[in-house]
């Protein structure tokens, strides 16, 4: 029998984390953001509990501003047998018409941070799986696999529980919760390799295609629907793809010809910029942006 590879070990560790949470939490949920990391996490969850159906629902905290291709995949996944998909939209953001064009950072705060807290409180979820990886960002590099949140969903980096061996302390008091990151030790390359090895379906936006785009502040943005205000700009067809996916007005595309996973991996390996660079969200408050968001309850 061959020795376990790096990918085998990561897979086994993630499955262990998923099972440990389900065994000990009262009401777990998986945050499903439709991106490639969510796709990998969902795939691992299926493996962890097979032949049983997923022992928890998926939760999509919707901002109403995702790409249409993302909604299409989400609805397809949600319709699969054994999948219980909850879609939550912050009613206040909805009624106030919060959008990325007029409201800046408030958009992320209300739709994502507030929306997530509301959804977790509404359904009483006490453990939420997220697809974050430690290689993404510096404050993530220090977060535990089981990240304890107080009653207000706040993360306190100085009061993290020590996490030893593969022993996770899932205990908490009423009202407190856990964010659980099964992909903590994966890198972006691991994720792509695994997608390829396991033939996992991902949103087509990751692959290069001709798409209508405009250029703003050095970012190439896709004009995904008619809600995008064009100040005299004419959308230009460019062959582009996305390295990370979020709200379409906030996700920068890269010009690329990569239309297979292999080509994406090759391009990614030879590129000189990091994955999160195309995201506007990290730049809100200087270098400590993500750390600040996490303390406020962001995933």
């Amino acid at each position: 029998m061959r020795a376990l590879t790096h990918l085998d070990r990561l897979e086994a560790e993630s499955i262990h984390i998923l099972r440990e949470t389900v065994a000990e939490a009262d009401r777990p949920v998986m945050l499903y953001s439709i991106g490639k990391d969510s796709a990998v996490m969902l795939h691992l969850a299926r493996k962890a509990f097979l032949p049983s159906p997923l022992p928890f629902p998926l939760l999509h905290v919707d901002t109403t501003w995702k790409f249409r291709d993302m909604y299409a995949l989400r609805d397809k996944v949600g319709a699969e047998p054994g999948i219980d998909l909850i879609v939550y939209k912050n009613p206040e953001a909805l009624s106030r018409g919060i959008n990325p064009f007029d409201h800046g950072p408030l958009h992320t705060d209300m739709w994502k941070t507030e929306g997530l807290k509301q959804a977790l409180d509404k359904y009483g979820f006490d453990a939420a799986f997220g697809g974050a990886r430690r290689d993404e960002e510096k404050s993530r590099a220090k977060e535990r696999v089981f990240s304890f949140r107080d009653r207000n969903h706040r993360w306190d980096p100085k009061r993290q529980r020590p996490e030893l061996w593969s022993l996770y302390n899932v205990r908490k008091n009423k009202g407190e919760s856990m964010r659980v990151f099964p992909l903590s030790n994966w890198t972006e390359l691991d994720v792509w390799q695994y997608i390829m090895r396991e033939k996992i379906e991902i949103v087509p936006l990751y692959f290069a295609a001709d798409r209508p785009t405009v250029e703003r502040d050095g970012l190439i943005l896709m004009v995904d629907d008619e809600r995008m205000p064009l100040n005299g700009e004419k959308p230009v067809m460019r062959k582009v793809r996305f390295r990370t996916l979020g709200c379409y007005p906030l996700s920068g595309a890269v010009e690329s010809g990569a239309d297979t996973v292999e080509a994406i991996v090759a391009e990614m390996l030879l590129t000189k910029t990091s994955e999160r660079q195309g995201r506007i969200i990290d730049k809100d408050a200087g270098g400590a942006s993500m750390e600040k968001k996490k303390q406020e309850g962001y995933f």
Binding site: H6, R19, L50, D135, K138, P157, P162, R171, K172, E291
Partner: protein, 639 residues
Amino acid sequence: MSRPLESEEDLIRHDVRTWLAQQEAKELLRFITCGSVDDGKSTLIGRLLYESKQIFDDQLDALESDSKRHGTQGKKIDFALLVDGLSAEREQGITIDVAYRFFTSASRKFIVADTPGHEQYTRNMVTGASTADLAVLLVDARKGVLTQTRRHSYLAKLVGIRRFVLAVNKMDLVDYDEGAFDSITADYRAFAEQIGIDDWIAIPVSGLSGDNIMSRSDRTPWYSGETLLEHLDTVPLEAAADAQKAFRMPVQWVNRPNQNFRGFSGQVASGRIALGSEVRVLPSGRTTRVDRIVLDGDLDEAVAGQSVTLTFADEIDCSRGDVIAAAGDPPEAADQFEATIVWMAEEELLPGRGYWLKLGTQMVTAMVQEPKHEINVNTLERLAAKTLGLNGIGVAELSTDREIVFEPYAVEGTSPNKVLGGFILIDKLTNATVACGMINFALRRAMNIHRQHLEVSRETHSALKGQKPAVLWFTGLSGAGKSTIANLVEKKLAARGRHTFLLDGDNVRHGLNRDLGFTEADRIENIRRVGEVARLMADAGLIVLTAFISPFRAERHMVRRMLPEGEFFEIFVDTPLAEAEQRDVKGLYAKARAGELKNFTGIDSPYEPPEKPEIHIDTTKVDAEEAAELIVEKLLSRR
């Protein structure tokens, strides 16, 4: 993010599939770096990431601008800024928590736990080391082996790391002097022998200039050994040793979607298992054969490290917390141990208190005795100790409320038994992880101290009195009405010819427990003694009433466990704090509010209400007479 080495770029450009196949075959090494504050640890890791091309242009741009703002290297790039993640750390110029970094070489992928060197963060170092196969110890070539170097070596060894690299850093600042390197190496050799580290090498490096990190430096012509990366690429992995041991798999989750499938999910801790292998389920000891090994398809075999689901040939009981093991070579089960404990919380260890103990997938209540000794990690001396404080390390005996399946943590000549030998302790009130521990061996004390066999049994006592014994345990705030109601209950029981005895908190403190104060530790001992006395009286056939605040759930639970099922009645005399304080029969609340009484329950010491009391008396709804009647009724109606 893992990026390829420059030499691989051509292959990626022309044949990414082949390159990916090579990547897939890579192994994984997890290691830890440790050093004291100024040894240049972050710089070394930054250098490893930089040289193995883990840093993108946008990150490098940010790094250059950060280096100018916060850097300590003048105009040079400050690699330390790459890894000092949290803004608090940047402001203070220190590393405060374990951070995990990822990089790759041509043959391995690496996960680095970067841990700080400050004394107060021993727990972080232990945390980082717990998953590592190897430790890289940084020493400053100008300073040599320091107290901290010894401490880190000891801690790494304590959590089972067998392989060490002594990276003698800042060689550039001693002009790459061979003599300086040799003298540090000799110092460390003496220490390593003393604590039993026998697998180690020393490498002269400079994190700042990159000497002997990835490639051999021509500034150290006198050094002919491996570079740091060469060593990391070839050092043996503990996974190989784990696979050689006997099969063990703790059951995490029972997978039962329907009548036709009953599987047991878990991660193989050690050894391997094949279809048809005979296994033993512990602690029950039943044996069966493995029928299927399921991942997404069926496997013929599974090995240490894999997460799988097993099904059995026979329908035998098996649930979370059980351990599936090689039938012919199973681990032991016991309920008393000697363990080495690392205390990780601000609140010190309370000997005698019940903590949750999690080992593998087993969760039990454990009581830790006073430590046999504490270890001074700087001098390795054994010191007498009554407790353990934050970052204290000691050896203590502990007992669990039921048997657990375990293996000794450290085993000579092979990898440590991390899964069945390592545990954490969890505070029952705050749920914080307060300690970790490593089992040294099981004690057989309970078997050696045989109980005297009594000719007149508990049943005889009970039958003579014509009643079933019980302990009515009244708990609630001071002034809640516990003693008043307990007195009424006793009167009613006496009137019906029952044999009773009332143990009152205040009275007991004048006699049996007059040596105890009101600290948390003393309160626990107070309740333990009362519990023991109540149990003896129940053995004598009495109905015992106790009226104690007994504020902690853990201690009430401890007493409950002393008694046979159905004989312990937890009676929650539920009076809101405001109400009790307003009554203030003994004037104690006033004193506590005035600061004259310390550790007063409800004021500056917590009360943990019962979660599922047998009887719940809401004194705002019923008076003492009604409450007493209700309790008597409930007691006498039991079968």
